[in-house]
């Protein structure tokens, strides 16, 4: 089994607001191995993006703070690192791709300039080696005619091409861990398929570990090896992708899978989860999903369920699972 690149242990992240403490991430643990894609799935507000920002140590300060836990990247805990030390990791060891390529690229700098920025910052390359390195990373993302692409501005590119440039920036220093936060949501279906195939190829070439954040189970099925399902700040189930579709253990996981219409069959009526996710300011006691759960019992409403292992790499937090 390949080496573990990132290990997150009992991570807590809170935002301190006028209304009180919002526990956006409330004690989550997971790990990602080399050459592996770990998916984090959940609805908006479940804490998946805050998890990503915590790992990158990019939380908005003041207000957002990691209040506990460890983020261990190849043996180093990132949580206590100083800002200066963290900067050496960010972009070189871990990098991130955001959802909207138009707002993550600078409109007034050329593509070559923006990719070169992280290369110049992190790698002590002589100036005449920088351009070949930029072209190399454009090639990795299969961008046609990289030499002419260098001088282009983001507005001259299509959405799919822009997202490839963002990928080239992220991969320019060959990071060990790549966090992709909904990278395909803004793309069209056929371009999305291209992008996913591209990342599978990049992973084979560079062995990068990927954390893939999404709300789309279809993308999870195509892209991820293992997946964690988040609900209201907690991971409720972690399992290999195959198992999560074949035998989901947590009622939220199966409800979420069943509420998505399928393309390969005609659904007469979709299963729908009633109600809404709870407010993070005012969480229910016990299991957070209990108010919307169709099989909740008295225990579920009173005590938080422990995490139990139900198979290789498969854990679930639910009172019904023994």
């Amino acid at each position: 089994m390949s080496e573990i690149v990132l290990q997150v242990e009992n991570l807590h992240t809170s935002f301190f607001t006028n209304q009180g403490e919002v526990k956006a991430v409330d004690g989550i643990s997971f790990f990602v191995r080399e050459s592996e894609t770990f998916g984090i799935v959940g609805e908006s507000g479940c804490g998946k993006s805050v998890t990503a920002l915590s790992i990158m140590r990019l939380l908005q300060e003041p207000g957002g703070r990691i209040t506990g836990g460890k983020i261990i990247l190849e043996g180093t805990d990132l949580v206590p690192l100083s800002k200066k030390k963290m900067r050496a990791y960010r972009g070189r060891m871990i990098s991130m791709i955001l959802q909207d390529p138009m707002s993550s690229l600078n409109p007034v700098y050329t593509v070559g300039n923006q990719i070169g920025e992280s290369i110049r910052l992190h790698q002590a390359l002589p100036e005449n080696m920088v351009e070949p390195a930029i072209i190399e990373s454009l090639r990795l993302l299969k961008i046609p005619t990289p030499e002419t692409m260098l001088g282009n501005y983001p507005f001259q590119l299509s959405g799919g091409m822009r997202q490839r440039v963002v990928g080239a920036i992220a991969m320019s220093c060959r990071p060990r861990l790549l966090i992709a936060d909904e990278p395909t949501t803004a793309l069209d279906a056929t371009i999305q398929a291209q992008y996913i195939a591209l990342f599978e190829d990049i992973q084979k070439k560079t062995n990068v570990a990927i954390i893939f954040i999404t709300h789309d189970f279809g993308v999870v099925a195509k892209m991820c090896h293992r997946v964690g399902v988040m609900y209201a700040g907690k991971i409720v189930e972690t399992a290999p992708t195959r198992e999560i579709f074949k035998a989901p253990q947590h009622p939220y996981t199966s409800a979420l899978i069943n509420s998505v219409p399928r393309l390969d069959r005609k659904d007469e009526r979709l299963f729908s989860i009633e109600g809404q996710p709870p407010s993070l300011l005012n969480l229910p006691p016990g299991c957070r999903f209990a108010p919307r759960c169709t099989v909740a019992r008295e225990t579920c409403r009173q005590q938080e369920p422990p995490e139990v292992s139900v198979g290789a790499d498969h854990t679930v937090s639910c009172w019904r699972v023994k």
Partner: protein, 325 residues
């Protein structure tokens, strides 16, 4: 014979591209180029395609928010462009309503729920205040919201609830057709099913027709009776939803279905994924012959030369491809 509510015949919309101080027309964007479809009463037609395919322009033409370059729209058999201004106002516009994609921007944040939902009633009917109040309460109950919440503002509601408010507003005038522009794509996964089920229930209850614009094929299969697959301003395949999804004939339809299909890691050998190369060409300068030939894996010589005809291959099923099999 099916009960046709609205028919589009050969709709075309070309936008001029201008340049310079004098705004010379240097080219045309062929946003919609010869699109025909029928919407039956009580049924749903979906327009599917990627951005730039012309779905929204087609829907805007139906809503009369965009004047067509050429083509005719027949509503209950009558040509819309022959309606007088007052006929449009009394006979057409109240019958056609619109629900937009983003429930965060489709409502005035400073208006209370009662005013938002009452607005179409105030402008289009002669109902008095009491009647309007009753109607608003009834509409809210219909979409599964508490009628007691009429004094609240939009920001007090979640995305799913807001989309319910938008639906309630659209239903106020008892329309025959509701244009739904990506009705669930801005919502959370677990909320989407609620809204889709609600829309289907309302359709059955009021015999509504829907024109759905969508890019998510699974949503389309769940929601619609008929489907039109659009590419670069044209419909490339049209037909009964089940037939199109079970037996897609156009290579683009096949690629779209393949791209959206749920494939588990172990199934990958069985289901060969079709991944298209390249991107959609510019509608200002569409490719010669078949517009899809630049990305089509099955393209042959004639595809770049001859424009394919729309061929009928079933009761409703039509396809625009030289090699439809």
């Amino acid at each position: 014979m099916a009960d046709v509510l609205l028919e589009g015949r050969n709709l075309t919309k070309h936008y001029p591209v201008t340049r310079g101080l004098l705004q010379h027309v240097v080219g045309w964007v062929r946003a919609v180029d010869g699109v025909s479809f029928t919407i039956e009463r009580g049924k749903t037609l979906s327009l599917v395609g990627e951005s730039g395919a012309g779905k929204t322009t087609t829907a805007k033409a139906v809503l009369l928010l965009e004047r067509l370059t050429s083509g005719t729209i027949l509503f209950e058999g009558k040509d819309l462009y022959k309606f007088s201004h007052s006929e449009l106002k009394t006979q057409y516009r109240p019958k056609i309503q619109y629900v937009q994609q983003n429930p965060w921007s489709s409502m005035n944040p400073r208006m209370r729920l009662r005013d938002i939902i009452a607005e179409p009633l105030v402008t289009n009917t002669k109902m008095d205040r009491g009647e309007i109040r009753n109607r608003v309460g009834e509409l809210l109950a219909n979409v599964g919201l508490d009628p007691a919440s009429i004094d609240h503002y939009p920001h007090e509601f979640s995305g799913g609830q807001r989309q319910r408010i938008a639906v309630a507003r659209a239903l106020g005038l008892n329309p025959s057709l509701v244009v739904l522009d990506e009705p669930v794509s801005a919502l959370d996964v677990s909320i989407r099913a609620q809204i889709m089920n609600l829309l289907k229930d309302l359709q059955d209850k009021y015999n509504l027709s829907y024109l759905v614009i969508a890019h998510n094929l699974a949503t389309v299969r769940y929601m619609s009776h008929d489907v039109a697959i659009m590419y670069l301003g044209q419909i490339v395949e049209y037909g009964d939803t089940e037939e199109v999804f079970q037996k897609p004939l156009h290579p683009y339809t096949k690629a779209l279905i393949s791209a959206s299909m749920l494939t588990l890691p172990e199934d990958e050998q069985e289901v060969k994924q079709i991944i298209l190369t390249g991107e959609m060409p510019s509608p200002m300068n569409p490719p010669s012959g078949c517009r899809f030939h630049t990305r089509c894996a099955e393209a042959k010589e004639e595809c770049s030369r001859d424009i394919p005809e729309m061929v009928s291959v079933g009761v409703k099923h039509m396809v625009k491809c030289h090699h439809h099999g």
